[in-house]
Symmetry: C2
DNA sequence: TGGAGAATGATAGTAATACTATTATATTTG
DNA sequence: CAAATATAATAGTATTACTATCATTCTCCA
């Protein structure tokens, strides 16, 4: 169908050798997604990943310095992909309010596969982001890694949506708080639905996360 | 001042030997809080903790099975303490709305030391909860640990506040989502203010987290 | 007061993890 | 076809997250 000549560009600092540049690199990406989903970040090791792709762990280390950096790489990839979806999804909308609602939809509704990137399973990657992404910045190295620019894409998405909000209501006081509350909250509700259902409201149907956070944004900025 | 004969009761499953029952146990608690704050969960080890209290790591293992269980213990202790503050803080209020606002205040405003528990520094413990608590349930063992009841206190707090909301507005559709969004969001905003300031709205002053989430709850349930 | 039982200390050991290093063998490319 | 590059195969290291054992100290109560 639509096979665009688009590739997601990730900061050079996140890898030793660009995994997009070789076959082995792409297998590292696709298998690490599968394995991270299966084992979780703690039990995931480069040795196991090596076994999964039929290569020694030393080969993986030629692409990524550590499993932590690999996780950041994947999360960055995810947010870059989301940013691209937001940009292209909002470009043709006729009002800021419509643009805002589309952005929230992309950020809160379940993910669908995107065949434009064959070695990345976006549905699994979203699951990983939902369950593991907090570990990316909840470490003692946050400040250093923030200085390195690892969280730039995420921050840019927040800025974009905040700016939409500020266009709609220039007096609104807490645009960043509202946007991060929505983005992180949405992931949290999905995780709770799977593992701690009493912490969410599962009965409210399939679009409850989208409905809840859309209503939240509308009420807050009006 | 007020030195109540109250002690926080934690589920037996979280420790091998009750740390409240001995002097060494209490030192394990107080030093683990200091060390976790200093090193972060990843760099924290029982060996280092042993060194800090002048005991071999094997002694620490007589109290806690693993550093993960110790973290859960501390987080549980924290939420039990918060629950006690909510219960006693709301008991004398004259309306449900006042009770709700008090609960939100306790959940979103900065923590002050509580001299009732000498071996626990609640301010540090709150910092640990803010930076490390997501690791408690973002593991592959969530479901098992949930079955063991490790998250009961947290869930009970969510239920309490949800019920307050439902008393005020029995038609409100998403009480649990709203409450968890507030609790987790408040911690997140504090973490962002320290490490990723562009993701929050620091300019909005000291009570911005409380103000933002109080406004959110009021607007959402009205 | 003395002795049993419990708590702690001292020390050792193990499998796994998160790497680094080295050399040999493919594979690509000019 | 040679040179450069990528990968495989293998080994090694410090640290982690434990478990095990035995000696010492403390405590409490008969």
């Amino acid at each position: 169908m639509h096979n665009l000549a688009i590739s997601i560009r990730i900061s050079d600092d996140l890898f030793i050798k660009d995994p997009e540049s070789t076959n082995l690199g792409k297998r590292i990406i696709s298998e690490s997604i599968a394995l991270l989903d299966e084992l979780g970040f703690e039990a995931f090791t480069f040795k196991k990943l090596g076994a999964a792709i039929g290569s020694p762990e030393s080969s993986v280390y030629r692409y990524f310095e550590s499993k932590h950096k690999l996780l950041i790489y994947l999360v960055c990839w995810y947010w870059s992909w989301i940013e691209y979806k937001i940009v292209f999804g909002t470009i043709n909308k006729s009002s800021d309010m419509e643009r805002l609602k589309t952005a929230i939809e992309i950020l809160t509704k379940p993910i669908k596969v995107d065949n434009a990137f064959i070695h990345v399973n976006e549905v699994l990657l979203n699951k990983i982001v939902v369950s593991e992404a907090t570990k990316v910045f909840h470490t003692k190295e946050v400040d250093k890694e923030n200085d390195q620019g690892y969280f730039a894409v995420y921050k840019r998405i927040v800025q974009r949506v905040s700016q939409l909000i500020m266009t709609i209501n220039p007096d609104y006081k807490y645009p960043n708080m509202l946007v991060t509350t929505v983005i992180e909250g949405a992931h949290q509700q999905v995780y709770f639905a799977d593992h701690l259902p009493s912490l969410t409201d599962k009965k409210r149907g399939k679009n409850r996360v989208y409905n809840f956070y859309t209503e939240m944004v509308c009420k807050m900025i009006s």
